[in-house]
Homo-oligomer: 245 residues x 6
Amino acid sequence: MSEVSNVARPSGRAANALRQITLTRQFTKHAEGSVLVEFGDTKVICTASIEDKVPGFLKGKGQGWLTAEYGMLPRSTHTRMDREAAKGKQSGRTQEIQRLIGRSLRAAFDLESFGERTLHLDCDVIQADGGTRTAAISGAMVAAYDAFAKLQAQGVISAIPVKQFIAAISVGVFKGVPVLDLDYLEDSDCDTDMNVVMDDKGHFIEVQGTAEGVAFDRQALNQLLDLAQAGIAEIITKQKQALAI
Amino acid sequence: MSEVSNVARPSGRAANALRQITLTRQFTKHAEGSVLVEFGDTKVICTASIEDKVPGFLKGKGQGWLTAEYGMLPRSTHTRMDREAAKGKQSGRTQEIQRLIGRSLRAAFDLESFGERTLHLDCDVIQADGGTRTAAISGAMVAAYDAFAKLQAQGVISAIPVKQFIAAISVGVFKGVPVLDLDYLEDSDCDTDMNVVMDDKGHFIEVQGTAEGVAFDRQALNQLLDLAQAGIAEIITKQKQALAI
Amino acid sequence: MSEVSNVARPSGRAANALRQITLTRQFTKHAEGSVLVEFGDTKVICTASIEDKVPGFLKGKGQGWLTAEYGMLPRSTHTRMDREAAKGKQSGRTQEIQRLIGRSLRAAFDLESFGERTLHLDCDVIQADGGTRTAAISGAMVAAYDAFAKLQAQGVISAIPVKQFIAAISVGVFKGVPVLDLDYLEDSDCDTDMNVVMDDKGHFIEVQGTAEGVAFDRQALNQLLDLAQAGIAEIITKQKQALAI
Amino acid sequence: MSEVSNVARPSGRAANALRQITLTRQFTKHAEGSVLVEFGDTKVICTASIEDKVPGFLKGKGQGWLTAEYGMLPRSTHTRMDREAAKGKQSGRTQEIQRLIGRSLRAAFDLESFGERTLHLDCDVIQADGGTRTAAISGAMVAAYDAFAKLQAQGVISAIPVKQFIAAISVGVFKGVPVLDLDYLEDSDCDTDMNVVMDDKGHFIEVQGTAEGVAFDRQALNQLLDLAQAGIAEIITKQKQALAI
Amino acid sequence: MSEVSNVARPSGRAANALRQITLTRQFTKHAEGSVLVEFGDTKVICTASIEDKVPGFLKGKGQGWLTAEYGMLPRSTHTRMDREAAKGKQSGRTQEIQRLIGRSLRAAFDLESFGERTLHLDCDVIQADGGTRTAAISGAMVAAYDAFAKLQAQGVISAIPVKQFIAAISVGVFKGVPVLDLDYLEDSDCDTDMNVVMDDKGHFIEVQGTAEGVAFDRQALNQLLDLAQAGIAEIITKQKQALAI
Amino acid sequence: MSEVSNVARPSGRAANALRQITLTRQFTKHAEGSVLVEFGDTKVICTASIEDKVPGFLKGKGQGWLTAEYGMLPRSTHTRMDREAAKGKQSGRTQEIQRLIGRSLRAAFDLESFGERTLHLDCDVIQADGGTRTAAISGAMVAAYDAFAKLQAQGVISAIPVKQFIAAISVGVFKGVPVLDLDYLEDSDCDTDMNVVMDDKGHFIEVQGTAEGVAFDRQALNQLLDLAQAGIAEIITKQKQALAI
């Protein structure tokens, strides 16, 4: 991106600055992979569980499957949300997010090379401050990697079936200025909100941009994508550091 | 867009060619607005219904609301799908699409200027051949306009609260070549699938791009957006012709 | 029926006059049978889909099954109805109607002679003006016939397993006079409402009569059945004309 | 009816003979009206409960409402049925029956003369041997009467708002012969099954006839209605005896 | 128990007196075991149904299963409750009770000795006056015994797989005094409510005590357990008398 | 308790030893009270949220309400459980536990003294190793206290409406020996499992004991209650230390 614009972000961050990002592995003990991912005050527990069977539509095809679910603790948010299990259904937003997580992670791993197994990714938000879906995707990448590493260590598979690292970030136009990694205050008050998933070659897996109030033009789109690309590269570096690879 | 690439599309269309698009107003008689929209063999009934109340969160605020629902007849598709009403829930895909339609149309109209009323958009696919969500958005624009025109004719509102015309189209990379307005055969076999919603100034309302199998780079993204922009301009022209404005 | 009574029907029809009835085959392209049936302003899409399996209770018995589902587009009616898929359940009325359609059509075809297959009939009302269930049954007869004809043409079955043609019509007592084929205005204001399904020999498959406000006597019942019998014979003639048999 | 046909009924009953019918009032102690109705081995508990409010669509209109629900204990039947509360929904058959009970009883009472109250009729089958819906309607008539009598005794209403007594019976063609009041063995093996609801003047409230396998002609219909009319008159006599009126 | 305290119970019973308890076998005719159990005015129909298969988690293990369901007729209670089948779900209370009944009865029978069969216990309250769950457990014991006796009589199993008789009773602190077998008036106004399930050796299967308002001390607990033990012994005697064993 | 029995507990703990218990306040930032409670490897997030309204049945009565919900992250357990929000309902176990938590905490606070407000307690298990419900109750006590303290600090209420401190622990008979605070290995292999909730005076709020396999006698019950009483006293000390009161 040509230059970084000036904007008074609530957090005092520069327009192109990520929040503090941490990835804590082995956060819980039962899951094959378990990561607490933090994007500033946004905290998501990502677990990866291996199950030794595949959904019906894949039975007997010799390949694996990867699927994701997403949830928020009722008081992960500013005001308490109703519990989806108690309401008896997942909201449209929840389903949209978990479909996005699943598609993104299926782009990272080779489903054909780990046998008739399912990798379940569960991303549960314990504290929300904007960007929960991008934190979830970025953390799930590490949890999934760990789970496959465990399978490899057990001799079940010969190699970790990773095709490419992927990560995600949100970008948006806040008070007229494109900024990286929106927190809740920015997210609630921005004109354009975009979630971007990219791989470690800087190619796109998903681009989801929404005008909030004001439509955005091609130039703004390009500035946002520049910010996202740089941010995602940083996150992938952190993922690899966390995994020590 | 620089130049149109050559690709053997199943339909024989040029890479930048839309399918035959028709918008039939007053398709059914009860709704305030009722449009049959056809993008080639994709056929969607879009109705716009005015209700004289708003959801709870808007009560007493003096403004209106616009919401959308989407459905497919069970045999609108190649093989019969289960009926969502019989299964007792809408799929994640259905919810994702109806949320997209609602957001897109809320960008087209001024919710503050038609009183405490709700405009319900129902988009029901009677025949599917790819691009049902973009056809639905493009047809709903006309149905909504008609419904507001009826309110205006009744003297209920003084002007049609349109802020801008919007339309939507899908684009994708088919056999390595960016193409406009994917039909079912292309959609099932493409590398990248993108739905774009734009306004009549060529600005973006929504961009939703997904890599299918292969991640896409910035150049492909730009070619796809060029195709979409030109296609949407054509559709908006057709919308205005249909409305004789 | 002895003589036709005089009554000022809203439509100006004679007491024993059907509305304009049309049966448009191949209305949509994917289903094995697809018929748009119109009884005046009542319009129902009836599709017949062949599935190569049967429900659990019939597995291994070597016979087929036929089942029906019914739905209304939310704004097929004067005021918008809630979408059943969004509410998460089908109303009692919907279930009652689809059970009636299924029973009626199972009387028309020989379930034992088309192998372990299921014929799914989907009847979706796109515009309602009274008599949607009887239109659905009458249209589904043609759609089912077409679907079986397709199976026969493919050499899958040697003959169309039709036992008899069936059709349905509503009759009622409107302002004291028995009339045939109630439209919405009559239906909302009648004393007795009866739906009759008969075969091409003039025998009964179903008789469902309900007093609305005033109980009806045996004479009124007989007059209504006379009207229904003549009306159904007309509809069956139209079915056969549509099928060119 | 002209003459009674000969048929070997499993129960040894004459073709026009009802089963033993008993109506036990005050069967349970909490409900305003509570009747155990027995049609032979079919046993249904009918309770009538008065609630001091009406559904939303009637609020402020100064009139009452009457509604009915129907259920079967899981092992009221030959083989155990799944419990509807555990499955999370009522079957289509259940809904159809409870709609029929509600419509029938609304024909018996004057909804405008008991204030903004709802009469809830609950018909729960504790043992099924055919004819549960007609037993339920016949028993609910007495339970409802008792509940209104209680309101009258309390001085809440000045008169029991009964317009007419109603009762119901099933008739059918069993082994080619029209018979009255089918038990389970007959019901499972009959050609035509008809449920009839009539008032104490011999007029029809509901006629629901279904061909099982073989369509029925006008003569059979007439014979069945003759049987039903005589049977219902007997049941209404028993209702009045039970109520000592 | 040391001595029986004096308290003015609404029923006039002594603190250690059970209500009149009756167990009527063969109450309905279809179930393998069918018992009407009455604890005073509390009346519960308990049926035991044998099904020739087991749940998935037990398939192929050569053993049986026993499960229970519980329900209340809507007007079994003082004011009408909503029907759970109509609401589409069982309340937490219902589930808690049916889990308790199932656990208790599984302690009474040897699941390993009656083959791959499931015993379904259905406990349906037709009149409630306190203590429905303990009546249900005590009645289900007899219904289950009868069902197994039928299997034995048919030569399917060689012996009734009973390990021990079990029964249940409620105890509570009413107006400061520990009392046995609370009726509704006591139950609504007591400080502590405890349900106890014991076997015929006086050992505990379940103890569930809840402080209502005031916490209870060890001494009160001991007095309540003494009352329960004596009461349960009486009930088990009645169970054996009813079964004539 | 007289003396501590010897048993080889998998953890090496003495029969009367609690696991390491920690209560971390302010664990998440949005909730009025937020506690991470750990009983060894069992980890539960307990949040307390104040809402300024009460359920319908309490409206206008001037008092408050307290309610609890419980959930487990899908991979908090050894093998992944299905997500309840995705299944569309909470299990019977979940409902039983959240009812227990709610009843227990309602015994700790004076509902009449904090106005028409609802305290929502959400207990979400992020790692399970036995005893999740007792950890949840013990942690929720602290979270609720914190939430009320916040209300007091804001001047909304004049005092924290605590009546008494309460805590909970599980006890059971493991390999014939009564032990305190079962972990997962013990819980899966014990003969008797009991959950006890007590207040700071050593009185009982809840006692829920279940025989697993073998019924337990009065002596075992007494030993278990002795263990529980001592354990709960320790936990209440820790609660007060955590709160620095």
